[in-house]
């Protein structure tokens, strides 16, 4: 088992489901003695696209870029602290660019063999499936993917995990 999963990467986007995925990944990494990376991607591509679409002004792009970097720091620190509570050091990664591409790059750069992400929104239209960043990252992943579901159960397991 240890040789099958050595490096785990969990994708954090600030959603509750991504934090649940982090809790699951912390428990899993400790159980199999794997290294855990937590990644947040500041979606600068989306900001550029919004300016191009004239929905955003340049000032808004700058303001939101700062907000997103602050979000990245806040959420990654939160995951780091969750890891520390369970005696696991989580290596945090904050990248900027196109989300699914940066995830792909991080998977390769850190020799990840398991990509963990939170449950994606229930796909209720073809458009959701096409545009969801998480869906695209999952499809583009070059390693095995684990989608964490059943938040309540994961929370309970995490709380009692030693």
């Amino acid at each position: 088992m240890n040789s099958l999963i050595r490096n785990i990467l969990v994708y954090i986007d600030g959603s509750e489901s991504s934090i649940t995925a982090a809790q699951y990944a912390i428990c899993l990494a400790k159980t199999v003695s794997a290294k855990l990376f937590a990644l947040y991607v500041v979606n600068t591509r989306a900001l550029t696209d919004l300016v191009a679409a004239r929905i955003f002004l340049k000032e808004e792009q700058d303001e939101f870029q700062v907000d997103l970097h602050q979000d990245a720091e806040r959420y990654l620190n939160h995951v780091k602290n969750l890891g520390l509570k369970k005696g696991l050091e989580v290596q945090t990664l904050s990248l900027s660019g196109t989300v699914n591409q940066e995830i792909k790059n991080a998977l390769a750069a850190h020799d990840i063999d398991l990509f963990v992400l939170g449950e994606t929104a229930q796909v209720r239209s073809r458009r959701d499936e096409f545009y969801s960043e998480a869906e695209r990252a999952m499809r583009g992943s070059t390693c095995s993917v684990l989608v964490v579901k059943d938040e309540e159960r994961v929370w309970n397991v995490f709380d009692s995990f030693v």
Partner: protein
Amino acid sequence: MALLDLITEEVVKVPLLSTSKPDVIRELIDMLKKAGKIADPDKIFDSVMKRESLGSTGLENGIAVPHAKTIDVGNLLLGIGIAPQGVDFQSFDGKPSKLFFMLLAPPDKAGPHIEALSEIAKITKSQAFCRMLIKAESAKEVVEIFKEE
């Protein structure tokens, strides 16, 4: 978060009755208030109008995306309105706006805020999809169109 998670019949108004930019924004905010989504419509109106004062969110082809980052909402909120007659929204191409997506988000939800606006930007690139929405005769029909797309 999928955009569809934000769209229910109670946050869609067809047709909008207003004929001016401030009135359209007010009508959309009042709809959200009626739906129990917001507490202080006046503060939100000021936030949206403040953003409009920096530059109109009226885009091309009859679409407008008024938006604001405000502490007066707890979660990401979307209000959709359709004005088949068109409203002068000082749009980029000078044409009247018919399809309105108003997005409100608290400051600590920058990620979902960007994601939702990006999705709106993408879907509004489809003129056929927008035409279907503009022709919709009820909120129910609008929700159905989003589900089927």
